[in-house]
Amino acid sequence: MSVVGIGFTTPLLLLGLLALPVIWWLLRAVPPAPRKQVFPAVTLLLGLEDKTVQADRTPWWLLLLRLLAVAAIIIGFAGPVLNPDTAPGRSGRLLIFVDDYWPAGSDWSQRMQVIETRLERAQVAARPVTLVLASSVGRTDVDQDTVWQTADAWQSALPGQSPVAWDVPYAVTKDWAQAQGSADVLWISDGVARAGRTDLIAYFEQMGVLEVLEPPSARIGILPAILDGGDLVLSVLSTGPAPATELTVEALGPDPEGIERVLLSAPVSFDIGANRVELRLTVPSELRNRIDRLQIADHRAAGAITLADDSLRRRRVALMNTVGEREGLELLSPLHYLREALVTTAETVELPALSELIKAGPDVIILPDVANFSDSDRAALTEWVTEGGLLLRFAGPQLASSDLGQGEEDTLLPVRLRAGGRVVGGAMSWGDPRALAPFTEESPFYGLPVPDDVQIEAQILAQPGPDLAERTIATLSDGTPIVTRRALGAGQVVLFHVSANAEWSSLPFSGLFVQMLERLAVSSQGSTRDGVTLEGTTWVATHILDGFGQLSPQDAVAGVPGPKLADPAGPDHAPGLYADEDRVQAVNVLRADSVLERAEWPARLAPSWQVEETQQEFGPWVLALALALGALDVLLTLWLAGRLLPTARRVAAGVVTGLFLLASSQSVDAQSDTPPSVLDAASIVTLAHVKSGDPAVDQVAQAGLLGLSDQLFLRTSVEPARPVGVDVEVDDLSVYPLLYWPLTDMTPIPSPDATLRLKRYLAAGGLILFDTRDAGAGGNSPASRRLRAVALPLNLPLLDQVPHDHVLTRSFYLLQEFPGRNRGPVWAEAPPPNAERAEGMPFRNLNDGVTPVIVGGNDWASAWAIREDGRPMFPVGRGQAGERQREMAVRFGINLVMHVLTGNYKSDQVHVPALLERLGE
């Protein structure tokens, strides 16, 4: 029921308004009660008659006041609601379809709030609900069965949801949509144009009423950077309208000490109406080579970050120029083709002396047909390769004529060589020039097409040996090695058994030569990448981006075939960094040709966005009005009866006294509100929580610890002071026995300095209770990721789920589980593997070692939290069982504090039999 924007939750009560006329009549019929007055001279009054009877009826305005009060009471209890929720289709099944592609990452928590609000409404209406993530539809590795559940079941599953890091067309098919049956659809759109949307709208509208929610803010993306000359060129896209504030593009990478920091940042702003802005950054090459990624500051989305790979880096290649400044014979110089091959993709240095080459700090040293070194050069070069350098050598007449590596294995040659060369296609030979054999799978060149016109006329032969096959990475069609390779320390030595110029083969002419150099990581790949150059390679993800733009290291994941990387990122190859031997390739969310456009909706589906609930109940205000009217009625009645003045004086006195008391109590409060100093905390047990960066969470944590402190005061001999919030960056932690650390996705990661302090705190016997507040929803909630980031540098011991015989289960109360507002697993330091069950005791001998951390997601603070008046701040569970759960949560808190304060005192009970035995003797 709704009248001019006001609805009623129980409109039937409004029938009570019909009784108003009756009340009017009754009030008029009954005269005001007489006032009794003791009066000794009543004898003189006896027999006096009243002349007028005007005051026997209540004045009309007083009647009106009373009727208003009664009407206000009736209306107040009828539950008036401002802007009542008149969403269409209030019953039946509800399908919530969530765009969880990367554009949703930047305001994911807002989306979850909106969904939670809608789930609450659906819970009230008892609608079956299912939640479908757009990215999961049509995937073979995700269960496709839709689960219809009650809304609260989905509510508990919400914190575990997170966006994916890619953006692909909608995969919803007509069959899938029809399989869902009829349901209303709530579509939480990310606002980015995507193929398949029109079909999807049609499917959903067939299923039921479709409502679209979409935040109005623009989605921002960044395209991969391109090297143009020495400059980095990158584009920032927006779905427009352009954000009002200026964006900042940051380039991150390790500084010389290896600590990641912002290497440079540049402001970028959109022109009015523009959806794309181009940025050109002039960066010194040393700095540029260190850039790991470029991102838009403070914009948490996978598309607002672009990873840098080899295409942005330039290897420094040192060429040993043995020819010198000799004129002429340019085309015969072995360096000519190398120069040509490397000029666009690497920095080259040409120097005649090997010692100077090494000083130039190159990644690769190329020796074209150099046979002999001085001993000092040989030692320096060996050391350089061992430390990770790549030495690339080419054969040639000099190498062939020397006896290098023939008698015994040379450290700077991959294989032993046979004396002299081999000429297979010359004028003086019988054979034809040989072609290259296709590359084997083990070869780094695998997948490169072998052109027919590459002909080898002369080569240096390798001495057959047991190692030869594994060191050969390319052969001629007759099976003789043409490229060999050997690892040396951290680096490697590669030998082309042909010369670097065209004298011995046509290889240097061919495109294959360039590709081979690239495969050997001598040169970086070009900015264009296609399936051909990646053919045959297998890439392993080393770092993966998540939907929030967080880059996290990966290990032990299956490789991805090279050509796949050329496709847009998707479920089978998430955005991130992929490595193949020395080469690193980035798969970015947005590719150079990606576009970012705003989603177009039909006019009938104009998307709305309401984060906060507009429905407002104002019943309490109406009831308060009724109370005020009642109080006014009392005053007026008193005034009518002539009793107002003396009463008023007393009331005034009472009010003044009350105000005074209030003021004095406030001043007392003001005193107790001052934060206790470290000195106080050191003298009285004080619980502390670490500020999470979210004021609301901190407030709950404070209230929670206050509630726990109260319960400790009531139930135990621990009498804590008022809890405090601490900042790990500045506050002295050593005086707090217990730190409660609620984690949000905004929790700042402690600086190295603070990490050191935390380590010291834990080493000195402190305990940190980490609370991800997500019911232990697995490792992928934002809070869990943040927990990993916070805890990683703390060198925590091995954790395990709290075993049933842990001392936490009996340090004060006997507990089986440790619920908070959620029920999830709780982790603590793992027991030593050799713990054995004590004689006659139901628990193992786990003496010594208070666990330094306890990790869980049970949102304990919310279960403990009390308001200032002592009532619980949040409901826990349902009814009696919920109260039981709250009680268990409080008991867990008490056990925890007892565990912190008494250590393993309770574990000493394992010795009780032994003590008794000794006493008995």
Partner: protein, 289 residues
């Protein structure tokens, strides 16, 4: 229960009353001191302390009464006569009826309390002037000395004797404290009898200001202190003039009957200073011409 509880009850009541005694006495004496004592002699020779005159000794005068110092200055014998200081008896009565246990304002004393204070102050004043003071209607006959004052105070708090001429001492002065709001018959009878005995005195009316002003309006249910008499009115303000008329009539009637018996009448309101009332009483009683 009564047999067991009565003495205890009586005693506790007595103690509660006695607890009020000293403050009552102090207040009364304090009030009495505020009145300046004037000439007190009887202006004739008789029993007394103060010298009045010498007269020639007559036959029959005992020899020890001869004032030798005066006689030595002449040849005759002189006897010293003292001024007659034989005390008058004053009997006081304070109305014990319930209607005096009333005050309209917690800051004002009850009518009875005020009457008792004024009565005791008068007694104290009279006693220090050498008069004999007693309570009318009780066995406490007029006596002298501070002990009498204590006894009077004690007796005054517990007596509920009506206004009768029992124990009335002939030729004594009498002071009657009441609000005179009840029927006037007993007062009239008492005055009549007193006139017959040659007793003179004062009718002292004690009223609360509310009884003089009648500040009521609206619907009021009036009742007396005991809750026996009630009067219900719908518009009290309407009664005001007629009530004030009746009150004035009552005062006039009292004044009239007092005058007829040779008594004096005074009306006093509890918010007025008690010392003025005491001065008036002192002049009416203590200044016999």
């Amino acid at each position: 229960m009564n047999s067991d509880g009565a003495p205890i009850q009586l005693r506790s009541r007595a103690e509660a009353l006695a607890a009020r005694l000293p403050p009552l006495l102090v207040a009364a004496q304090h009030l009495a001191q505020s009145v300046e004592l004037g000439e007190h002699g009887r202006r004739q020779s008789g029993q007394g302390e103060a010298f009045w005159q010498f007269r020639r000794a007559q036959p029959g005068d005992p020899s020890h009464r001869i004032d030798w110092r005066r006689s030595a200055r002449s040849d005759r014998h002189y006897v010293q006569e003292k001024e007659w200081q034989a005390a008058h008896s004053v009997q006081i009565w304070v109305d014990p009826s319930a209607s005096l246990a009333f005050t309209s304002n917690p800051k004002l004393p009850e009518k009875r309390a005020q009457a008792q204070i004024i009565a005791l102050a008068l007694a104290s004043l009279l006693l220090s002037g050498g008069e004999r003071v007693g309570l009318l209607g009780s066995a406490l006959t007029p006596g002298r000395g501070q002990l009498t004052l204590s006894r009077m105070a004690d007796q005054m708090l517990r007596t509920d004797a009506p206004l009768r001429d029992v124990f009335a001492v002939p030729r004594a002065r009498q002071v009657v404290f009441s609000d005179f709001l009840g029927p006037l018959d007993s007062t009239r009878d008492f005055l009549h009898a007193a006139q017959g005995r040659g007793q003179r005195g004062v009718l002292f009316q004690v009223l609360d200001p509310m009884e003089e002003v009648f500040p009521f309006h609206g619907r009021v249910l009036f009742q007396d202190v005991g809750g026996v008499l009630r009067h219900d009115t719908r518009e009290a303000g309407d009664l005001r003039d007629r009530y004030l008329d009746r009150l004035a009539q009552r005062k006039a009637e009292l004044s009239e009957i007092a005058k007829r018996a040779g008594w004096r009448f005074h009306s006093y309101h509890t918010q007025d200073p008690a010392s003025a009332a005491l001065l008036w009483l002192w002049n009416a009683i203590g200044g016999p011409r």
